[in-house]
Symmetry: C2
Subunit: 344 residues, 2 copies
C-alpha cells in the first residue's frame, strides 16, 4: 500500500510500504477515507535531521473498517470510524478518568510498528477502545468536519475545558492556526461571550470571527498583551488559550491573563521552561493544558457536528491526493494553506 | 514604639520607630499581642544586601484594637483581631472572588508607610476589609493557633485547595517547614486519606504524622520522587503540594505527580522559570498555586481552631520577646526552631 514517510526537514515522500493487516485479535484494519496534516507534523517537517530510513507519519484519519480481529466486538466490516490521535484501551484507570493520552496500554500512531494515518490503510490496535463509529456513509458531506474529531477540534476543546472556560469567563486565544480557531469554536460552544483572538492572518481571523471571536488582536508579544488588557479594563482575560507552542506565545499568555486566571497550552511545546517567577506566583496564575485526550471528547462533540451546529471542518482550506501530500506539507509550512486534508 | 527592622542578611534589629497611629478614616490601630516569623522572612534574612536604612518587616499578627477611624464600622476598641498577611478592602471584584492578594486597593505590610507586623503596634489600612474578629480574650490559650490564620495555615490550605485535594486524591507534600506541615493539616482536613510528607527533619515529620501524614519520605530529588512513585504503584500522587520555593523542590514535584495531576506551589519562588517541556505537556500536569489570599479563608478555617479540632499553632516551637527577635531569626534560619512566635 501507499503511505507517507518523512525523511527529514522538508522531505516528505509517499512510498510503497507493507500492507496494513491484522496482527493482534484486538486489531481492526481500517481503509483511510480522509487524513490530514497536523500543525505538530510541521515541527519535524521544519527541523528533523535527514535520515536514511524514513519514518511513517500522520495521526488523524477517518476510514472504513475492512476487517477485525477475533477480540473486536464493537466494530464490523463497513463501519465508518474516526480514530483519535492516540490509540488506547478506553478501560484503564487513566482512560476512565478521561486521560486517554496516558492510557496504560495505548500508544502513538506511526511508531513501533503501528501505521501512520497518512496512508491508504491503518492497523488499529485496541480497536474497541480506540475507534468511534460515525453514523454516516463513506461519502458524507460531513466527513471533513468529522475528521476534525480525531485531533484538532478536541485539542481546541481540551484547551478551553482545562482553562475552565464558561459563560462567565473572558477568553484570549493565542494563535490563528487550525488549533487556535478550533479553540475559539470550543470556547464559544462552552458559552464564552468575550473571545479575543490573537492572530495576524486576516483570512484566518475572519474565520475566527465566524467561529465566535468577538475581537481580533493582530499585535504580538507585550504589545499584543497590552491590547488584550486594554480591551478588558486593564485586567487581561480570565483564561488564555495558548495554541502555538512557542515560548513567546506562552509569555504573551502570562502577560494577557488576569490575576487568578488560567493559561492553558495545547500547542506542542518547542521550549523546555516557562516563566513562573514571583510575579506570576503573586498573581496566582495557573498553567494547565497538555496533549489532548481526544478520545475522551469525541462522543460529546460529535452531535454538534452531525446536526450542523458546528462546522469545525472549515479549518480545511485545501485538499490534496495522498500522492501530492508533500505539496500539502509545503503549503501549510509556508502558511499558504491553513490545514490540508488528504484523500488517499 | 518598638518595631523590627531588617538592615541586610543576618542583620535584624529592634528599634524605636514613630508610634503607629490612625491616618485614614478607614484605619484601625492595633496593639500587637503576638506576631511571628515567616519562612518568607528568611529569604531577605539570608540574602538582602546591607542597607543604611533599615526596612520594617513582619506580616503575621494578632492584636487588640486600640482605636478606629471614623470610617471603620466593624471593629471597636478592645476587639481581638487577626490580620491576614495582605491588607485588602474585601469588597472589590478580586476580593469578592476570594483573591484578596490582588485586591484593587490593598497592599503589603511593612511597605509604603504601613507598619510591619513584628512590632508593638500596627496601623491597619482598610480595617473593615482587612481584619477578622477573634471571639477570644487577649490571653486565650488558642491565641497561637489563631495567629496561624494570618498566613501559614491559610497558605497550606491554599496549596491544598488550588491543587484540588479531596477524599479521592492522593497527596504529596514537599517540605517539612511550617507551611508544609500546615499543608498536611489542610489536606487532611479536606479529606485526603493518603498524604506523603517529604522531609528530613524527624521532629518535624513526626508532627507531620500527627497532622495527618500517612507516609514520610526522607529522600530528596529524583530519589525522593521515585520513593513517592513506589508508594503509589509507580504512578505518583494526584496532587503535589510544593511548600519550599526552590527549583529542586519544584522539579521533584513534577517528578512525583501522577499524569493528569496538579502541582501547587506556595513556597515563595526563588527561581524564575519552571520545567514544562514536552514530557510535562504530554502528561497533562497542571501547575497552580501562588501567594495565598489568607483573608478569603479565615472564616472557614477558624471554627476548627476554636473548637480544638485542629491545632495549627503546634508549628510554633519557640517564643521570644520582641527585643530578642534577632535570635528568633537566627534559630529559624539555622533550623534550630521550626517557627518562632514573638511577644511584644
Amino acid at each position: 500500500m501507499r503511505a507517507t514517510l518523512i525523511y527529514g526537514a522538508g522531505d516528505v515522500r509517499v512510498e510503497d510500504v507493507p500492507d496494513a493487516g491484522l496482527r493482534e485479535p484486538t486489531d481492526a484494519l481500517v481503509r483511510v477515507l480522509r487524513a490530514c496534516i497536523c500543525g505538530s507534523d510541521l515541527w519535524p517537517y521544519s527541523s528533523k535531521p535527514e535520515t536514511e530510513q524514513g519514518e511513517r507519519i500522520g495521526h488523524e484519519f477517518v476510514g472504513v473498517v475492512e476487517d477485525v480481529g477475533s477480540g473486536v466486538s464493537a466494530f464490523k466490516r463497513g463501519d465508518v470510524v474516526v480514530a483519535p490521535f492516540v490509540w488506547s484501551d478506553n478501560t484503564c484507570d487513566f482512560c476512565s478518568e478521561g486521560l486517554h493520552t496516558s492510557c496504560r496500554h495505548g500508544g502513538l500512531w506511526a511508531r513501533d510498528g503501528v501505521d501512520g494515518g497518512q496512508g491508504e490503510a491503518v492497523r488499529v490496535p485496541l480497536a474497541d477502545g480506540t475507534l468511534v463509529k460515525l453514523p454516516v456513509g463513506e461519502d458524507d458531506a460531513l466527513l471533513s468536519s468529522l475528521l476534525t474529531l480525531s485531533d484538532v477540534f478536541p485539542t481546541g476543546h481540551h484547551c478551553a475545558v482545562t482553562a475552565g472556560v464558561n459563560p462567565r469567563t473572558t477568553v484570549t486565544v493565542i494563535g490563528d492556526g487550525a488549533v487556535g480557531l478550533s479553540a475559539v469554536l470550543a470556547a464559544r460552544r462552552l458559552g464564552a461571550e468575550r473571545i479575543i483572538l490573537m492572530g495576524r492572518h486576516r483570512d484566518r481571523t475572519d474565520l475566527g470571527r465566524e467561529f465566535g471571536a468577538t475581537d481580533v488582536v493582530a499585535e504580538r508579544g507585550e504589545e499584543g498583551a497590552e491590547r488584550v488588557r486594554d480591551l478588558t479594563g486593564g485586567d487581561g482575560t480570565h483564561t488564555v488559550l495558548e495554541c502555538v507552542g512557542l515560548l513567546p506565545a506562552l509569555e504573551t499568555a502570562f502577560a494577557a491573563v488576569r490575576d487568578g486566571g488560567v493559561v492553558s497550552r495545547v500547542g506542542a511545546p518547542q521550549y523546555s521552561d516557562v516563566p513562573a517567577d514571583f510575579g506570576v506566583f503573586f498573581r496566582n496564575v495557573t498553567l494547565t493544558g497538555g496533549v489532548a485526550p481526544a478520545r475522551a471528547y469525541i462522543e460529546e462533540l460529535m452531535p454538534d457536528v452531525l446536526d450542523g451546529t458546528l462546522q469545525p471542518g472549515r479549518v480545511f482550506d485545501r485538499a490534496v491526493p495522498l500522492d501530492d501530500i508533500a505539496d500539502g506539507y509545503r503549503a501549510m509550512a509556508e502558511r499558504e494553506a491553513l490545514k490540508v486534508i488528504v484523500e488517499p
